[in-house]
Symmetry: C2
Subunit: 182 residues, 2 copies
Amino acid sequence: MKAWKKLSSTQVVHNKWVKLRKDTVKLPNGIILDDYYLFEKNDVALIVAVDEQNCIILKKEYRYPVNEVLYELPGGMIEEGEDPLETAKRELLEETGNISNDWKQLMCGYDYPTKDTNCVYIFLAKNVKKAANQKLDISENIEMEKVPLQEAVKMCQNNQIKVNGSIAGILLTELALKEGFR
Amino acid sequence: MKAWKKLSSTQVVHNKWVKLRKDTVKLPNGIILDDYYLFEKNDVALIVAVDEQNCIILKKEYRYPVNEVLYELPGGMIEEGEDPLETAKRELLEETGNISNDWKQLMCGYDYPTKDTNCVYIFLAKNVKKAANQKLDISENIEMEKVPLQEAVKMCQNNQIKVNGSIAGILLTELALKEGFR
């Protein structure tokens, strides 16, 4: 399966919040598509933060595009040039006030590679401990809840946790801990 | 946690492929944001198609935005007014030539509700059977592979399957079948 060839590229929208590109591409079968749109989004780091009681930290946040309060894993955008693990440590501290001395990368993948260029890194942080207060942006009205990992798994199964990256992180964590992942 | 209020809305890009909106919104704390960008994407249906040998169908497809061949669940966009389950049945038949007489909805959720308005529906189809040949779009150069469900779970764990919606669907299926989900 061969790569497509980029023939040309136009910035359609390019500002702090949105980078939308339109490429003309040549497919391996020779067909040329002159309007392949891509969203250049920042990479994202998500954290499954597990404490010594085997509880994880869930973020509850209102999401305007879907007009719903959602449970999600803590996390945030990886800044230009930032190491994904450093983002994860920074976001865990800023959003929850917690730190960990035991980090593992669970995966590096994608939400929607059909249109989006960005990666999602998911980290497992064990033995998390409260070390500071939350530090939030002005638009962030978020609450944190600690729930037993097994309850979080059930919340994925009954559609209470419904963001795909968060489901992936929680269920991968359950498998990893069951298998004694170090 | 209260909803944000939309004060005004502008279409920034609006064509067959991209619907990008910019809203001015008022937050519950009174702050006004005049540049909240949203992508109005079509809803999507994904299918975990399990046959009588407990194998699932994985799609292998080149994704231009990330320049990588990826394993994903079969699926596709829900057309305007289409029932998500009908989309799932149509896509399973078109993409894989398979049908099923045993469908269940595993979840309805989101890939990226921070910016995207669309839902992702994931369905479990059991006892799938080959009934026709694939019918693909011109830009689709895809291959189908059947793998045992347990192997697909391992592929999620070792980062070979790396699209969050696909991971969520496969791991939710494993839990559902283990618990005798009907």
